[in-house]
Each structure stands twice: as structure tokens, then as C-alpha cells.
């Protein structure tokens, strides 16, 4: 079982936005949805390893900044060319204003 890691303060991310989080040599993307929930996925696009945190969040979708590949960040599902491999997602909780993610 792996530990919960503190990623950032909840206030660091706007609603419907995303932030990059690096930990232990890995990179993640932390999302705050329009209805104020938090999610986390692998930080790099499955097409060409680009940081998704530079992309645009719209509703449930993160759009890759490089070629506009789309993923549902809540489920990790790839949602359109050129991406076809899903993103890995991680459990997230908010505790005392801090966003924690469980890195498996």
C-alpha cells in the first residue's frame, strides 16, 4: 500500500484548471473540476509525453497542449485522435485545505 502525498493547497488551482505536480521522479497532473472536485492523473500525454498541465481543462476533459488529444481526467479515458492510450488516474482527497494524492 502506498502513502498519500501532499500535492498542493486546494487554493493553488482554479476551478476548471490543472496544475503540474512532480514527486519521486514522476510527474502528475492535478485537476479541479468546475463543480469543485479534485482529480489526479499521470502528468504526461500518452501520445508524445507532453506535460498535460499546459493544456486546457473544459468540463471533464483535459486537452493536450501539443496536438489537442483529449482525455477525461476523471476516468483517464482517451477521448479522440491522436490519443488512443488511456491515462492512469490516482485517488485524491482534500484534507484541511491540502490536496493529497495516493501514488501507487
Amino acid at each position: 500500500m502506498s502513502d498519500w502525498v501532499e500535492a498542493c493547497a486546494a487554493d493553488d488551482i482554479d476551478e476548471e484548471d490543472v496544475m503540474r505536480f512532480d514527486h519521486g521522479g514522476r510527474t502528475f497532473a492535478i485537476y479541479r473540476s468546475p463543480d469543485d472536485e479534485f482529480f489526479a492523473t499521470d502528468g504526461l500525454c500518452t501520445h508524445e509525453k507532453v506535460h498535460l498541465a499546459d493544456g486546457l481543462v473544459m468540463d471533464d476533459i483535459i486537452e493536450c497542449p501539443k496536438h489537442n488529444g483529449r482525455f477525461n481526467y476523471k476516468t483517464g479515458a482517451a477521448r479522440g485522435a491522436p490519443v488512443c492510450v488511456n491515462l492512469r488516474t490516482y485517488p485524491v482527497k482534500v484534507d484541511a485545505g491540502k490536496v493529497l494524492i495516493q501514488i501507487g
Binding site: 476548471e16 508524445e48 507532453v50 506535460h51 499546459d54 493544456g55 486546457l56 486537452e63 497542449p65 501539443k66 496536438h67 489537442n68 485522435a81 491522436p82
Partner: protein, 405 residues
């Protein structure tokens, strides 16, 4: 359903037909020996690696799973519209209910005597491998044409240690479709990486003796190179369509639904010209990757009877060194330009029409610095929005907030 051309557009269209639930025969015909693959890496990453690999957009397994028949290394040589049949180079024929032409484009040839084995073009993976073999320290490369493909190749060639001269007949590089302010950033990046850029000088003569190429410029200079790469634009592949009597107008002419002058034949991607709704139906032909994907998917929907009109905004990107450039819309539609600085040298030029409509946005910067704002600009363009120039120019105003209006 038969699709001619197994590139980005044809490949995406075949899968889109299945995703839409079509369960009849789907045949994808391509004259290259490969699975459909991505061309953009050919001037970028594929070039920089020691052993360039093809970046296929599908796998044999996926084709089998979706029951898509892919015929490779065969050309479609004729369309018999009355019989609804396509004749192939191996002597066989295919009958179709609906046909999609996704034949792409091919490099414009330099109309000049003297070209030889060391004068090359880039379109296919085979072309890329041939070029890659020359890119090493000590070799001299002449790039004829300061367009995207030539410049990306220049950057890759420098990365691999070759010396590079870019020859452009126009007064500056990237004359077509890129604002001068952005072209200047690209120009400076190349110069600081050691590329020699010669603008405003045409080619008087070329001599290739199989060992080296000598390029004589009208202004008197002579450049000697081990390889001359010619990148002077692309022309649509329309021969098959023209011989079948389909209307041609800077590409296979299609309507907003991508239908040709034959009600059972569609065309999409680099090979077609179409009315761009966002600019009041101005007829354009795009050579852009996302357009090929989107039109492939749209053609598939319309082959199944959706009757849907094209509505997308053109979008293009290019990578050179650490710089990435992205353009949404066609900047020549603009009359007024507003600049927005994003920090670290990244900036976006917003192009507005006289009536205040945002019609295009061109951005450049390190990595993906401009990506998010260009994407938001694209959405504003699609909505025919008229954002206040002051808001566009001010970093304090989030572009996303303009979309909410």
C-alpha cells in the same frame, strides 16, 4: 465503403466509419507499403533519432479487430463512376457505394534542369530515411525554400551537426500564413543555431553531379552542398479525380459536406479545397494534420448520411529547436493586430477583422507556452466573437473569461 489514400485522413475515416456503427465492408487502399502513419515527425523527432521509426496511427491488430481491409502498395488507377468501381494497379477492382478520396498532397517540384540524386523532397517515411542518412557533422545541407518543412529539417540537421544554408526567394522566411513578427523569431532562432539564411535571392541554376550539388543564386552567390532538400510547398494529388471528371479547383473541389461533384464521392484532407464557413465560405485548401483528421471523421459521418457541414477553424503547429509555433485561423483574414505577451519570450498576435471579429491568432514561444491561449482563441474565432482588443492585449485578463461572455 472504399477509401483511397491510407494517410492521416483516410486512416481516421476508416476507423470513424466503424466507431459510427457501420458494419459493411470498409476497404482502405494505399500506395505506400506501410500502415497509415504520422507525417509531422518526419521533419522533427524521427529525424533527430539514430534509428528513425515510423509512427503508425493504427496497428494490424486494430485493423483486424475493426474488420478494416487495408490494401497496401497498390494504387487506385481509375474510377468508373457509372459502374461505381475503382480499378487498382494490381489489375483488380473494388465496387463502392460511397467513395472517399484522401489522396493527400505531394511536394511541389522545382521546375529546373540540373536536379540529380542529391536533390530530394520530403513527404514519405522513405524520403525521411534517405535524408537522415546525410545528416551528420561535416556534411553541408542546402534547404531550398524557407517554409515549415524546410525550416524544421534545417533545425533537425543542425541538431545532428550538419551545416545548413536556407535559400528563400521571398524577402523573408515563412511568407505564407505567418506574420512577419513571428517569422522574425524563427529566423533569429535559426541564425543563433548557426543556420545561414539567404532571403530574397532566387536560384539561377543547379548542378548535381551525384557527389555534390552546386546551387547558383541570381545574386551571384554559389552554395555547394552534399544534399539539397527542396521544400517549396505542396500540390494536391488530384489526377485520379480529374480523370474521372470530378471538378477540380486548387484541389478536388468539395462542398461544405465534403462532397465532390459526384453525389457518391467525397474528398477530404490535403487533397481537397472546401468552403470555410468561419470566413463566409472562402474556398481554401489546408495542409494541416488536424484538418486531415477532422475532415476524415466528417467525411465518414457524411458517407453514412449525416449531411453535416464543416465548421472547424484551421489549426496548425510547427516545432523548431525549443520553439513551438501554433496558428489558429488564417492570419491573412485580419486587418488589425493585437499583441499579448505571455512571458519567457512567448507571445500571441491576435488578428481582428475590420468589424472587430477575432479571425486568427498566431503564437510562438518555448515548449507549449502558447498552446492554451491559442486553443481559447480558436474557440473565440469559432464563435465569431468580437473581444475587446484591450482585453486580448492584457495578460491580466484571462482569455477563458472572454469565452464566458
Amino acid at each position: 465503403m472504399v477509401i483511397i489514400g491510407a494517410g492521416e485522413c483516410g486512416g481516421r475515416a476508416a476507423f470513424a466509419l466503424r466507431d459510427l456503427g457501420y458494419d459493411g465492408l470498409v476497404t482502405l487502399v494505399g500506395d505506400e507499403p506501410h500502415l497509415p502513419y504520422e507525417r509531422p515527425p518526419l521533419s522533427k523527432e524521427a529525424m533527430a533519432s539514430d534509428a528513425p521509426e515510423i509512427k503508425a496511427i493504427v496497428s494490424d491488430d486494430l485493423l483486424a479487430e475493426k474488420s478494416i481491409r487495408h490494401l497496401h502498395s497498390v494504387r487506385a488507377v481509375a474510377i468508373d463512376r457509372a459502374a461505381h468501381e475503382v480499378r487498382l494497379s494490381d489489375g483488380s477492382s473494388l465496387s463502392y457505394d460511397k467513395l472517399l478520396l484522401a489522396t493527400g498532397s505531394t511536394p511541389r517540384k522545382l521546375p529546373m534542369p540540373g536536379l540529380g540524386p542529391r536533390c530530394v523532397y520530403l513527404r514519405t517515411f522513405a524520403d525521411a530515411l534517405a535524408i537522415r542518412a546525410y545528416l551528420r557533422p561535416g556534411n553541408r545541407v542546402a534547404v531550398i525554400g524557407g517554409g515549415f518543412i524546410g525550416l524544421e529539417l534545417a533545425a533537425s540537421a543542425r541538431k545532428l551537426g550538419a551545416s545548413v544554408t536556407v535559400i528563400e526567394a521571398q524577402p523573408r522566411i515563412l511568407m505564407r500564413g505567418v506574420p512577419a513578427e513571428i517569422a522574425a523569431v524563427v529566423h533569429d532562432a535559426h541564425v543563433s543555431e548557426g543556420v545561414d539564411i539567404l532571403c530574397g535571392d532566387g536560384i539561377a541554376a543547379i548542378a548535381d553531379d551525384g557527389k555534390e550539388v552546386r546551387v547558383a543564386l541570381a545574386g551571384g552567390r554559389e552554395i555547394t552542398a552534399d544534399l539539397a532538400i527542396i521544400g517549396i510547398g505542396a500540390v494536391p494529388v488530384t489526377g485520379l479525380a480529374a480523370e474521372a471528371g470530378l471538378a477540380i479547383d486548387n484541389g478536388i473541389s468539395v462542398d461544405a459536406q465534403l462532397l465532390t461533384s459526384d453525389p457518391d464521392i467525397f474528398a477530404a484532407g490535403d487533397c481537397c479545397s472546401f468552403p470555410l464557413a468561419v470566413y463566409g465560405g472562402r474556398r481554401v485548401r489546408l495542409e494541416a494534420w488536424r484538418n486531415a483528421q477532422e475532415q476524415g471523421a466528417l467525411a465518414a459521418r457524411n458517407m453514412l448520411g449525416a449531411g453535416e457541414a464543416h465548421a472547424a477553424v484551421p489549426w496548425f503547429w510547427s516545432d523548431q529547436y525549443a520553439l513551438s509555433l501554433q496558428i489558429a485561423g488564417l492570419s491573412d483574414e485580419g486587418k488589425i493586430t493585437v499583441r499579448r505577451d505571455l512571458g519567457e519570450g512567448a507571445f500571441i498576435l491576435f488578428h481582428l477583422a475590420e468589424d472587430g471579429r477575432l479571425v486568427a491568432a498566431s503564437g510562438i514561444g518555448p515548449g507549449n507556452a502558447v498552446a492554451r491561449d491559442i486553443r481559447l482563441a480558436e474557440m473565440l474565432i469559432a464563435r465569431r466573437a468580437t473581444p475587446a482588443p484591450e482585453a486580448l492585449g492584457s495578460q491580466a485578463v484571462k482569455l477563458k473569461s472572454l469565452l464566458a461572455v
